[in-house]
């Protein structure tokens, strides 16, 4: 199951550099979009590259990037997770509340366990119950959300300054810790998806369920594990958010439902499954997460960020479609 298509003509330099894979995963447009966005950002606000602003910006985008990666894993197996915001809220308050009484590792384990349990709950119903992911996660969005508010009904919890420094401070000058954590998780996820059997099965289940079944692979188990993996990734995002804001909040995950789907869409992932890139998703999350900051520094009313985000999504996702249609017509006329 080679990721690089054997039909690509000749051993060109971009085969080795993975550009073909990025193209196949639809990640070229979001990477270019981020590059343009980043250049504009630095021109308007060169002080992004100061220590303080770099750290603030990193803390802003890392939770979104992690939750978007979770949504990506579910989209890869052809699902969608409406409950992702509620799982994030629940893992967030479990982490914050446990910190009041428990040592830090226990709180982390409990929060990850919560994310895993929520993911497996969804995954069981979708994979073994044969129910549509969107409907199952709609139901569990209500359930997990209410559990989150049972655990903690108002912002609070015992997140300490030490935890803030360990997750959201600086490792070295100019190197925010949160970016390091994101990089570690992203690399591990990349290894899992590209270099293990489970990872290839996750891509396979999304792109061609029938072939996977015919090949004797356990498609249901793969789906279940994908949902569990997504739950764990969501809990990482939840803990990063709780740490960088130094509170647990039972509604903190709500905005991440729509923005995680938006980031995955901007990353060029295909919602029927099987196609989507990790680096594309992270950069898409960075773009969407930083638009508000950019507008602030450009002196524009930051409410424009909602309008601009929407237009970027439609442009980046829609333009390739228009381009393909035009190219198809031009080819048709020529022949």
């Amino acid at each position: 199951m080679s990721a690089i298509s054997p039909t690509a003509a000749g051993p060109r330099w971009w085969n080795a550099s993975g550009v073909v894979r990025l193209r196949r995963e639809g990640a070229v447009a979001p990477i270019l979009a981020f590059a343009v966005f980043f250049i504009v950002y630095v021109i308007i606000n060169p002080s992004l590259l100061t220590r303080f602003q770099l750290q603030t910006a990193a803390n802003l985008v890392v939770p979104l990037a992690l939750v978007a990666l979770a949504q990506l894993v579910i989209v890869l197996v052809g699902g969608i997770d409406i409950s992702i915001g509620a799982i994030m809220s629940l893992a967030n308050v479990v982490f914050a509340v446990q910190l009041e009484t428990m040592p830090v590792p226990v709180a982390i384990l409990l929060s990850v366990g919560t994310g895993l349990a929520c993911g497996l709950f969804n995954g069981l119903l979708v994979a073994y119950g044969g129910l549509p992911a969107i409907a199952v996660t709609l139901a569990s969005a209500f359930i997990f959300g209410s559990l989150a508010r049972e655990v903690l009904d108002a912002p609070g919890g015992g997140v300490t300054t030490e935890i803030y420094l360990a997750t959201s401070g600086e490792l070295l000058p100019y190197v925010p810790v949160s970016l390091v954590w994101l990089a570690v998780i992203a690399v591990l996820l990349w290894l899992l998806l590209q270099r293990t059997a489970l990872g290839r099965h996750i891509y396979g289940v999304g792109s061609n369920m029938e072939s996977v079944r015919a090949a004797g692979l356990n498609a249901k188990l793969t789906k279940l594990l994908a949902f569990g993996l997504a739950g764990v990734l969501t809990s990482f995002g939840a803990m990063m958010l709780a740490s960088s804001t130094v509170t647990g909040d039972p509604r903190s995950g709500d905005p991440y439902l729509l923005s995680s789907i938006a980031a995955v869409a901007l990353a060029g992932a295909v919602f029927t499954g099987g196609r989507g890139s990790i680096i594309g998703t992270i950069l898409a999350a960075c773009t969407l997460g930083l638009i508000g900051n950019l507008l602030f520094f450009a002196g524009v009313n930051s409410y424009w960020q909602y309008v601009i985000s929407a237009l970027i999504i439609v442009a980046v996702v829609g333009l390739p479609v228009v381009w393909r249609k035009v190219a198809f017509r031009v080819k048709g006329i020529r022949s």
Partner: protein, 348 residues
């Protein structure tokens, strides 16, 4: 209730009216089964949520006998009909195998646009303008989905975000305090129907339900919406203008969400940027509990009203038993799980 029967009847009923006469396929599908399950399979899906509501209403009576009263029924039904009006547009989107996650901010946008335009255009003009704005929002959704081929979820999320920006940028919230009398007259004003006093929004919502159900069940456009929802490619091959049906479907969905915005402003007499937020998941919940298939091709506005009644009665019971809003959300989730496990399985 026999799940396999309901599931296999699904494909046949997808093309036929949910409340209309039985199609011949349904009869062949039902032969060879026990007469009971074939009878159950013939019952329109919209009946089940209404039955469930009656059961819950009875349960309420067992817990607190004074709950079984006309006043309590009208109270629950009023809450439910507002949720139902906000979910009618979602129903139309789900029937054509889409989803409209821009319902929340379409509600907010139309409500605020209406209040803003009452000054320059008068109440009637503002009403029409707000509805047209909703239809325009739906047109943009539909055009992007049908012509550009973007996923409905992504398109309507982007539209929802865009509208939120427009709401925050375009409206001057401090000036929007006065609700015009005519909107109050059609929503929160108490009127007497058949000797019963009720808020005007209740008969208004029920009338809208009847009109929409007639349009969906008995017009060519309404029937083609179901065909597009259950088998878009087949519809295309059969010569139906699929793109045009999709776009007009989303236009109706946007128009209905805009109408919901005006109704909500009239009933609660307040408007804010986030006034629609609670309808994001609740509108989909009412549609799903009402028996629509999330894959498209089936669903009815009568069912949606039934779904909203079930959710409304749950919230009444939770309030009476003093269980708190969290438990209410938990029960909503469990009900949705129950409904989809009864008939949410993917059609083969």
């Amino acid at each position: 209730m026999s799940t396999p029967t309901l599931t296999s009847a699904g494909a046949a009923e997808a093309a036929g009216a949910p409340d209309g006469p039985e199609s011949p396929e349904l009869n062949t599908g039902a032969t060879g089964r026990s007469s009971f399950s074939s009878v159950v399979a013939r019952v329109p899906r919209a009946v089940w949520p209404l039955l469930a509501f009656l059961v819950l209403f009875g349960v309420g009576g067992l817990i607190r006998p004074n709950l079984v009263s006309i006043d309590s029924l009208i109270g629950t039904a009023t809450f439910a009909i507002i949720l139902a009006i906000a979910s009618f547009g979602q129903t139309v989107a789900v029937i054509q195998a889409g989803i409209d996650l821009s319902v929340p901010n379409t509600i907010g946008f139309s409500a605020l646009a209406f209040l803003t335009l009452v000054g320059p255009l008068g109440p009637g003009g503002a009403f029409v303008a707000a509805l047209l704005a909703g239809a325009l929002i739906g047109f943009l959704n539909g055009a992007v989905i049908a012509k550009l081929g973007l996923t409905p979820i992504v398109t309507t999320i982007a539209m929802n975000g865009l509208l939120f920006g427009v709401i925050l940028l375009a409206f001057n919230f401090s000036e929007l305090t006065v609700t015009p009398d005519f909107v109050i007259a059609i929503t929160s004003a108490k009127i007497s129907v058949l000797g019963l006093t009720m808020p005007a929004v209740l008969p208004l919502g029920l009338a809208l339900m009847v009109v929409l159900q007639l349009v969906l069940s008995f017009t060519g456009w309404g029937r083609s919406l179901f065909v597009v929802g259950s088998a878009a490619e087949t519809a295309r091959l059969a010569g139906l203008p699929v793109d045009r049906i999709r776009i007009t479907g989303y236009m109706l969905s946007g128009l209905l969400a805009a109408f919901a915005g005006i109704v909500i402003v009239g009933y609660y007499q307040q408007a804010s940027a986030t006034m629609g937020a609670s309808y994001l998941l609740a509108s989909v919940a009412a549609v799903v509990v009402g028996g629509a298939s999330i894959f498209g091709g089936r669903g009815s506005v009568v069912g949606t009203v039934g779904g909203a009644l079930v959710l409304g009665q749950v919230s009444t019971l939770v309030a009476v038993l003093n269980l708190g809003a969290n438990i209410q959300q938990l029960i909503y989730g469990v009900i949705i799980l129950l409904v989809i496990s009864l008939y949410g399985r993917r059609r083969a």
